[in-house]
């Protein structure tokens, strides 16, 4: 079979017209690094599961994207991370929701798929499951970034003005996750 891979780095918060050339180059470089990480594994004969995780982990470790390090803040000023994975071969799937200290949520989602009887684990239970497998844990502050903190302050100001703003899809500057 031929091999191929495609990735996305999210939607909505900064469009190209408002982006400095330096910032655009940072995004392009990180996207290229991520796609090449996944493709290199495919070229070596690794599975599509391995390839998707390798690509995503590059982005989880970058503050540029809303996943892992650089994730957006909750209203309370913390981070709650979600991830999922599905394999087309047999429609197995794994997902985690609302985890706070797992460095790579996508890796934990795969573990849920392969090492539990379940499809989705959430919150404290997901963290306990991760601990049982020896997953790397980090303090919640590991995911902090100045840009996302500033985004939170703006979002809170918007919510003060309009209590329904959180469900308004047109407020693109802070809505997307």
């Amino acid at each position: 079979s031929p091999i191929a891979i495609v990735i996305h780095g999210g939607a909505g918060t900064i469009n190209r017209a408002n982006m400095s050339e330096e910032r655009e180059q940072q995004y392009r470089a990180k996207l290229e690094q991520a796609i090449k990480a996944g493709h290199a594994l495919l070229a070596q004969g690794a599975s599509s599961l391995d390839a998707t995780i390798a690509a995503i982990q590059v982005m989880e470790e970058s503050e540029l994207f809303n996943a892992g390090k650089g994730a957006v803040y909750t209203y309370e000023g913390a981070h709650e991370l979600d991830a999922s994975i599905m394999w087309g071969k047999n429609r197995q799937a794994g997902a985690v929701a609302g985890v706070k200290t797992i460095k790579s949520p996508i890796a934990l989602a795969r573990a849920v798929m392969e090492k539990s009887d379940h499809v989705m684990l959430s919150g404290r239970g997901a963290e306990t499951f991760a601990e049982s497998l020896g997953f790397e844990k980090v303090p919640n502050t590991y995911f902090d970034s100045d840009a996302r903190f500033e985004q939170l302050q703006k979002a809170k100001e918007t919510l003060k003005l309009d209590k329904t703003a959180q469900s308004d899809p047109l407020l693109l500057d802070y809505k997307f996750g």
Binding site: I5, I35, I56, A71, I85
Partner: protein
């Protein structure tokens, strides 16, 4: 949100998505990213999908699974199915965002209906593409 979809040499598709969710979320809000069928779906018989956008819409419209179901049942291409869902199902009701999609031959499509999209791909010919839209 970040996501990836791939086809390996054994012909197996996979889709994966990871996210911090939405800014200022409260009350344990969960979006579409961890919801299989909404933000992530893969089936070798049809296609694989990872989504990004307004999660509440992607959940209610079951976006990722809907795209693959259209491929399976309507016999349309993955690109046609994804275009239909993103532009003609989601957009009219205010659901903004996009998807990356791959069929079991490695054909890629990446429709979206709003700005600020970050994408990269390496196709079956080995051609690298990186784009910000």
């Amino acid at each position: 949100t970040v996501g990836a979809v791939a086809l390996d040499k054994n012909g197996n598709l996979a889709a994966a998505t990871s996210t911090g969710g939405m800014t200022a979320k409260r009350w344990g809000r969960i979006g579409d990213s961890p919801v299989i069928g909404a933000g992530t779906f893969a089936d070798n018989q049809s296609c694989a999908v990872s989504a990004t956008g307004h999660g509440e819409y992607f959940i209610r419209y079951n976006v990722a699974a809907d795209i693959c179901a259209r491929v399976a049942y309507q016999k349309v291409t993955a690109a046609q199915a994804a275009d239909e869902v993103i532009h003609n199902v989601l957009k009219p009701v205010g659901g903004t965002g996009g998807v990356i999609v791959m069929d079991n031959k490695g054909n890629i499509s990446q429709p979206f209906n709003t700005q600020g999209m970050y994408r990269a791909s390496i196709d079956t010919q080995g051609k690298l593409s990186v784009g910000i839209y």
